[in-house]
Amino acid sequence: MLAGSTLIVIIVAALIWRSFSSTPPTDKPLGRNIRIWIYGLGLVFPMSVLAALLIYALVVGERLLPHLDDEVVRVNAIAEQWRWQFTYTDRPEYVSEGVLHIPAGRPVDVAITTRDVIHSFWVPRLAGKLDAIPGHVNVLRIEASAPGLYHGQSAEFSGKGYTGHTFIVQAHSAADWARFLAGEPM
């Protein structure tokens, strides 16, 4: 995408550059000009590029949707000014604050909501962001390929404490995840 954009910028720049040194107007018929500039460059060119991009994006977007899956782990993220709480379907009474535990290598559905204003759940290395909206629950599918710590943050302005409104996602190996669910100290 970056390369393509750069190319377009260069082409446009070249066209403008040439226009300052091109031949005088008299010998260029207007009809042909319209065909080149309006139909060709103005309509056909952007429409074909955009159509390709759009279809690609929609197909990818469709694939990113959380589809039904038995293997999926369910957790809840509850945002608040300015902290995050996480609860786990597989380990009911437990609540963690500021750290979300997930198994590595398995899809996880995070059900996101908020107790006060709008926040947004975003772990840049795991998935795109999704908002926490009062009265609504949004489900985001994430998956960590390897165990480790991943940085997460709220990405919707929420007032004074917004800058520090961050959290951590801890992805566990299968064995550690079993121990976590059993309630053993980690």
Binding site: A51, L58, G61, E62, L65
Partner: protein, 105 residues
């Protein structure tokens, strides 16, 4: 004024139809129409596709009407022809997702 309306009418219909289809999708999901089945696809999708086809048909109709009747200024017909085409392309382009994307999630 009538000439101006000839220029605006087709895109206006696109905008209304686009909003209506989006509203239909929202209401349909809220009313659970997505679960009902109609000839092998969800009832809601069938309705959305119908709405899409109707939109395009209306715009084609408008296009022909614009071609067949004369504006007060000849110049207007060139412009209204373009805007009518824009509306048709926009209808096809912006609503084609009714055919395949998942509707309610």
């Amino acid at each position: 004024m009538r000439d101006l309306l000839r220029i605006l009418i087709a895109p206006l219909i696109w905008l209304a139809a686009f909003s209506a289809v989006y509203a239909l999708q929202g209401f349909g999901c809220a009313a659970g129409l997505n679960e009902a089945i109609f000839v092998g696809m969800s009832f809601l999708r069938a309705m959305l596709i119908l709405a899409w086809v109707l939109t395009i048909a209306t715009l084609v109709g408008i296009f022909y009407w614009l071609e067949r009747t004369a504006p007060r200024l000849p110049w207007t017909s060139a412009i209204s022809r373009i805007t009518a085409c824009v509306a048709m392309v926009a209808a096809i382009w912006s609503l084609f997702p009714v055919t395949f994307t998942s509707i309610c999630n």
